[in-house]
């Protein structure tokens, strides 16, 4: 045990029915460092965090926190807070209807009376001190997500935490907001707080972290200083594959240009959320919308699917004029749409994997033409195998699956309806590298089978690997259509930024 360690976990075990989630895992966090906890989905990151924060009880091993001469006993989130372990989760765990100041102090004051003046004064000091652009009396729901996250961090900091856990804090923030968050993190690091940073974004790890601990399948792979572990090797460690395998990752398959036949064509299509735009896609083509967050790429595909209120424009599907004003009509015309926000728009958490897979097909058929149980089972089995969905059975509720597998279930839902044209909006967000690769491969395979696919992703490399045509958006307008030689990272970036146009 090092002297400067604020947190030491030794030989942690955690069993779940049927699996070992954590198998003899060690973890050490030093004073004033930002320590990335990396691993694919299901590697045990979340379980380790939950053991540390008292959401789960550990089944073996010991935890020491600086200043305590005995093993720390953590049985509830309150226990964890009391010994100086604070957590900021991906989802904001503050109350939107209360003020910023109140969110910082509620639940941790003694006394029955609320001293507003004092709260506001202390909150203002703290906000200034940490450079957070919020006002103490502002209602929390009126702050941007990034600021809300920072308020949560300020609360944690004010509680004199020694260990700050940031569990995927950046997944819903844009670049500027991420930068603000990183500044705050470096600031806290300088004050001697140990920060555990969990994220899926590799670049972010290399931007702020000092050290990396990698987990795989519930076991410790190793702890590394950031300079000793190049990005490629980190990915290899996470996936447990050799570098040679990763070379294949660069080329997942043959890109498909598509046939001449136009499957879908829109002229000056606009919706309540998007400006008019023209768009077409050929049979068997994979194309993509790219642009910064908020550039209108998701809004455009939502207009195609009729998910927002369509306000104008002409649409032709396979050469015929059609009207698509709601998702049901889109589905009838052979269009499928995998929404961006999996949790909100995609999965129905309490239903089983099977029911989630069947859903879209059932809607297409209409509820008065039920499918037989045997048929449903057969369909579910077929796609669980085809997409290699990791689930205990098809009756398992989808909420107990990992993010990547949930995404595959929703993909299966759409594939089952055999669409001619499938729109995938950020299908790989928040899922691990291995599953990302599988989904990319699948997209190319679908295109080979003559399905047209529109693919949206925040990661340009991913788009370059799969799309033969990239539509670049900026400020809700299409600013470029790139094909062939133009499809390089540099050129795409330039177009997005609007340098030479």
């Amino acid at each position: 045990m090092q002297n400067d360690a604020v947190l030491t976990m030794r030989g942690i075990y955690k069993y779940f029915p049927g699996t070992i989630a954590l198998n003899n895992v060690d973890f050490t966090l030093r004073k004033g460092e930002i320590h990335a906890l990396m691993g694919e989905n299901g590697a045990g990151k979340s379980t380790l965090i939950k053991v540390l924060t008292g959401v789960y009880e550990k089944d073996g091993g010991s935890i020491w926190v600086e200043g305590g001469d005995k093993e720390a006993r953590i049985h509830s989130p309150q226990d964890a807070q009391n010994i100086g372990i604070s957590t900021v989760y991906q989802e904001i765990t503050l109350c939107p209807n209360l003020t910023v100041a109140e969110n910082m102090f509620i639940g941790r004051t003694n006394g029955e009376v609320v001293h507003w003046k004092e709260y506001e004064k202390r909150a203002t000091e703290l906000l200034d001190n940490l450079g957070i652009p919020a006002r103490a009396r502002q209602e929390l729901s009126r702050c941007s997500l990034a600021v809300q996250q920072m308020v949560a961090i300020a609360r944690a900091v004010d509680m004199q935490c020694k260990v700050l856990i940031l569990d995927e804090p950046t997944s819903s923030l844009d670049e500027k907001e991420v930068e603000m968050l990183f500044k705050l993190m470096r600031d806290l690091k300088a004050r001697g707080v140990g920060i555990i940073f969990v994220t899926h974004f590799l670049e972010q790890v290399y931007e702020v972290c000092d050290r990396i601990t990698v987990l795989r399948n519930g076991e410790l792979v190793g702890e590394y200083a950031i300079q000793d572990l190049p990005q490629v090797e980190l990915v290899a460690k996470m996936m447990g594959k050799d570098l040679n395998d990763l070379a294949n990752m660069e080329q997942v398959g043959q890109k498909s240009l598509g046939a001449d036949e136009v499957v879908y064509e829109a002229n000056a299509l606009s919706s309540s959320e998007s400006r008019p735009f023209d768009f077409c896609i050929h049979r068997g083509e994979v194309n993509g919308f790219t642009g910064l967050l908020g550039s209108g790429r998701s809004e455009s595909v939502r207009a195609i699917f009729g998910a927002d209120r369509v306000t104008g424009g002409k649409v032709r599907v396979k050469g015929k004029d059609v009207k698509i004003t709601n998702p049901r009509e889109a589905m009838k015309n052979g269009i499928g749409y995998l929404p961006e926000d999996r949790k909100r728009d995609g999965i129905i958490a309490d239903l089983s994997v099977r029911e989630n897979i069947i859903l879209a097909l059932q809607v297409m058929k209409g509820f008065f033409h039920p499918m037989s149980k045997a048929q449903m089972r057969q369909f579910a089995d077929e796609y669980i195998n085809a997409l290699q969905i990791k689930t205990a059975s098809q009756d398992t509720p989808i909420k107990s699956l990992s993010g990547g597998n949930q995404q595959k279930v929703i993909l299966a839902r759409w594939l089952l309806t055999h669409p001619d044209y499938l729109i995938l909006d950020e299908p790989t967000r928040g899922i691990d590298v291995g599953t990302k690769l599988e989904i990319q491969k699948l997209v190319l395979k679908l295109a080979e089978e003559n399905m047209s696919v529109t693919f949206i992703s925040s990661e340009i490399e991913e788009m370059l690997r799969t799309c033969s045509r990239l539509i670049v958006m900026r400020d809700r307008k299409i600013v470029g259509e790139l094909t062939g030689d133009q499809l390089t990272q540099g050129y795409v970036m330039k177009t997005i930024a609007g340098g030479d146009r």
Binding site: T93, C95, L98, E102, N103, G111, T124, R135
Partner: protein, 356 residues
């Protein structure tokens, strides 16, 4: 730089919160309606006594509306309040008539304790079922409503009129404020009269307001209604907060029952029938969101006053019939909810513009 920042921040006025905005709207609507009634109907509306009468007649409704506002802010609902009033009124009336205690003061004290006890019992029971067993509050309090109505009928099928003299004296005693009164046609000055029940109701409004805004318990209720999961993560004891909000709600409905008896000293199986619905309507009109987290008892008070004013206006107008009253209240509620959603969605748009 920091110092400058602090002062400029402190000086900057925050925009109204949703709760404040909704409350302001309901106060304005009340003022507007009352002014219109003064101009077009005149008569009683020109006398100050009218406002006191609204308070006197609706004291019990004000108290249960406060009780509902509390649970609704916490994201719950309590539809047993009317039933608890009925049961309290009936049991207190029977107790007063049959106890045989000569000392008037003692029997009044005992009935107060009885009323609060009944309310407390319902609150504890419902609070336990909702917060510790996690049963839907609507179902739990629906059961509470049936139970209390059933018990009331079991106590007496026939109406019971209170004959206890000390209590009737209490009923008759009113607070007289001469300078708010008026002079009758025969030249006698008639002071404005406020019943004890109305004073109790106003005190309840003030106390609940203070509790919700300046006590830890009250703020915890807001947090609970804002986001239950977050409240838990923020270290709030969610179960106990939820439990005590129902206990308080039950206690207030017991008190409302006693206030009701002081206004109309007679028990009846159908006393305060459907008053829980009026209370929900009043809370919503006063700016409490059914989804929890937003609300204010001052607004609720005005919600009750709006409903009461509608009733009075219709009673004085040529449309005097009970269906017109109900339809007007319904229209008011519908109007207000539409207004709320329009206002809130407009604010949402501004919010996103701010961000850009």
């Amino acid at each position: 730089m920091t110092g400058v920042n602090t002062t400029s921040r402190a000086k900057r006025k925050e925009p109204m919160t949703d709760a404040q905005l909704l409350m302001t709207i309901s106060i304005c609507i009340f003022a507007f309606m009352y002014a219109a009634a003064m101009i077009f109907l005149g008569g009683g509306f020109l006398k100050f006594q009218q406002i006191f009468d609204l308070l006197n007649d609706n004291a019990a409704l004000i108290i249960i509306s406060c009780s509902l506002t509390i649970v609704m802010i916490g994201g719950g609902i309590n539809i047993s309040v009317g039933g608890v009033i009925g049961l309290t009124v009936m049991s207190c009336a029977l107790f007063l008539n049959n106890n045989g205690i000569q000392n008037g003061f003692l029997s009044i004290l005992l009935t107060i304790l009885l009323a609060l006890g009944i309310g407390l019992a319902f609150g504890v029971l419902e609070g336990f079922l909702v917060s510790f067993l996690g049963i839907q509050p609507f179902i739990v309090t629906l059961a509470g409503m049936f139970l209390s109505r059933g018990l009331t009928t079991m106590l007496s099928v026939n109406p019971v009129k209170v004959t206890h003299e000390a209590f009737l004296a209490l009923v008759k005693s009113k607070i007289k404020i001469p300078w708010l009164g008026y002079v009758a046609q025969n030249g006698n000055p008639i002071p404005a009269k406020l019943e004890i029940g109305a004073v109790v109701a106003l005190c309840v409004v003030i106390l609940v307001y203070l509790m919700l805004h300046f006590m830890r318990f009250g703020r915890n209720i807001y947090a609970l209604g804002g986001n239950r999961q977050s409240a838990l993560m923020l270290g709030i004891n969610v179960r106990s907060t939820c439990f005590w909000s129902y206990v308080l709600s039950g206690l207030l409905s017991g008190l409302a029952g006693y206030v009701f008896l002081m206004h109309k000293p007679a028990g009846n199986a159908s006393v305060a029938m459907r008053s829980e619905m009026d209370a929900i309507a009043a809370s919503i009109i006063g700016g409490t969101l059914l989804t929890g987290g937003v609300g204010n008892v001052i607004g609720t008070l005005f919600g009750v006053m709006i409903l009461a004013t509608i009733q009075k206006i219709i009673a004085l107008s040529p449309l005097n019939a009970s269906w017109w009253q109900e339809m007007a209240s319904g229209a008011m509620l519908g109007f207000f909810i539409i207004l709320q959603s329009v206002v809130l969605s407009n604010r949402g748009k501004h919010k996103s513009k701010d961000k850009e």
